[in-house]
């Protein structure tokens, strides 16, 4: 296609949006809302997934030792735990190390810990890596039986719970996405129908003087894609601003929760949003053209 022709089609598409202001605005808003809701779900689901993965990669079983545990027995207890069936590795974590770790996780909020640092409330612990999740129950029971062990925490439960939350979110998100995408296609399609109607004289003349079907369709297709893109842009800005704000708050209040850093995460989300917006818009337009532009 010649550059001149593309320029023509582009101008026509913009013209259509301008002439059809109210409906165009309605379309853009609906697309924006749809994609925003989608993005919110996607962002939450991805974050839950992220958390799950991090937890999974971390220690699977932690045995907290009694507060009065004698450190002289450190090597004994490590060896005992190490030789249990199904245990891959054992690491002894002193309460000082645990506090330092916590400090790191708290980041800028580390000062909060100063209050408790004087009298470290944490206890020494054994971090136990399993050969496979299947042996967890047995290992947990045996760890409990070791003298000096206070509580045993099996993080696998947390991981499992997170995984089910993630899959529920994914399912809900998919259903919602389907419905909203459908609504988007319909409203864009309706907008384009009106645009086609407004240009029926022009279309008639175009047919008369020998414009090909695609030459007639392109401006409408582009109009639809632009409406979608406009909506997507709004959604991308909203989700980006919102995410940055939420991440800031989470890091402030719940610094130990691992959230996905804003960059380049938001860039990827925005790319997907813009692509889906343009695609939904074009699809809506095509739907309308098939029904209302018999060329």
């Amino acid at each position: 296609m010649r550059a001149r022709t593309i320029g023509y089609l582009f101008t026509e598409a913009l013209d259509g949006i301008r002439k059809n202001g109210v409906m165009s605005f309605a379309s853009v808003s609906t697309v924006a809302l749809t994609l925003f809701v989608l993005a919110v779900f996607a962002v939450i689901a991805l974050n839950v997934q992220h958390m799950t993965r991090i937890l999974e990669s971390q220690v699977q079983v932690v045995a907290y030792l009694k507060a009065d545990f004698d450190r002289a027995r450190r090597d004994d207890i490590v060896r005992t735990a190490r030789f249990l069936d199904g245990v891959a590795d054992v690491q002894y974590v002193t309460k000082e190390e645990a506090l330092a770790r916590l400090r790191k996780q708290f980041g800028e909020q580390a000062d909060l810990l100063d209050a408790v640092a004087e009298n470290n409330p944490l206890v020494d612990s054994l971090e136990v890596r399993l050969e496979s999740p299947a042996v967890a129950d047995g290992v947990v029971a045996k760890l409990r039986a070791i003298e000096g062990v206070d509580k045993v925490l099996y993080r696998r439960d947390t991981v499992k719970r997170l995984q089910s939350v993630a899959s529920a979110l994914r399912a809900l998100g998919t259903v919602l996405a389907g419905l909203l995408a459908f609504a988007t296609v319909l409203i864009v399609s309706n907008t384009i129908r009106i645009s086609v109607f407004a240009r029926r004289r022009e279309i008639g003349i175009m047919k008369l003087v020998g414009a090909t079907d695609w030459f007639i369709r392109w401006p409408f297709l582009m109009e639809g894609a632009m409406l979608g893109l406009g909506g997507a842009l709004l959604a991308a800005v909203a989700i980006s601003a919102g995410y940055v704000w939420v991440v800031e708050k989470v890091n402030l209040i719940l610094p130990f929760i691992p959230v996905i850093p804003a960059s380049p995460f938001l860039l990827d989300i925005s790319k997907v949003l813009l692509l889906s917006g343009a695609f939904l818009g074009a699809a809506g337009s095509l739907l309308s053209l098939r029904r209302h532009l018999r060329v």
């Binding site: 001149r4 022709t5 003349i205 003087v209 020998g210």
Partner: protein, 229 residues
């Protein structure tokens, strides 16, 4: 240029054309006459493939339109110029005369240079050389019809169809437009004009094909609108 072979066209229960067989050679100028509802417009619509015959074959420029694929219709339209009675609705009010005419080239993907070369030439041909920058609402009826004519001719089609082109014009302007069609015909374009303007047909003395109730009732060279006596 045009051949219709045993063409019948039925709209619902109404028979618009009845077994019409016609042959129009390249370079001819033909008047298609008859009262309203005789089938003149239907016949023209078959020729630019706006409609298809119910029975029979339609050939235009060595092409059997019955076999024409929908996606090839645009290419037929570029070789068949069409002019209507309601020129008012055939112009884009927000475009200048130049752009209205150029429109027919733009939709075919013509280059800017091509457009700059051909539009002024065709505006000159229809006598609107000085109106290129005017908008339709600034033009008289006759001038608007000239713009439509210029647009129909800008692709240099071998065939020009005119459906009551002077229907909304005063007699003086009508004769001018018809003179322009004759001029276009002299340059080699086959021209088929549907009209019921008796004085025009009688003034030009061209081939006349008369339709009545969808049938060809007369076809004579250098004919008059009606048979004398």
């Amino acid at each position: 240029m045009i051949h219709t072979i045993g063409v019948t066209k039925v709209h619902g229960k109404h028979v618009a054309l009845r077994d019409v067989t016609l042959h129009i050679a390249h370079g001819e100028f033909v008047f298609l006459v008859g009262p309203s509802g005789a089938g003149k417009s239907t016949l023209l619509r078959l020729l630019y493939r706006e409609e298809r015959p119910t029975i029979g074959e339609v050939w235009v420029d060595n092409q059997n339109l019955n076999l024409l694929k929908p996606r090839d219709i645009p290419y037929l339209r570029r070789r068949v110029g069409v002019v209507f009675q309601d020129f008012e609705s055939k112009l884009l009010p927000n475009k200048t005369v130049f752009d209205n005419v150029a429109f027919a080239l733009v939709v075919t993907g013509a280059s800017r240079r091509e457009i700059k070369r051909r539009v002024p030439a065709v505006l000159e041909l229809v006598g609107l050389g000085d109106k290129a920058r005017a908008y339709p609402h600034q033009l008289s009826g006759g001038e608007k019809q000239r713009v439509v004519l210029a647009r129909a001719m800008v692709n240099n089609p071998p065939l020009l169809l005119a459906d009551e082109p002077t229907g909304n014009l005063d007699p003086q302007t009508a004769l001018e437009i018809m003179g322009l069609l004759a001029e276009i015909n002299k340059r080699g374009t086959t021209v088929l004009v549907a009209t019921h303007a008796e004085y025009i047909v009688n003034a030009f003395r061209k081939r006349v094909i008369a339709l009545r109730d969808g049938s060809v009732v007369r076809d004579e060279e250098r004919g008059l609108y009606a048979v004398e006596g």
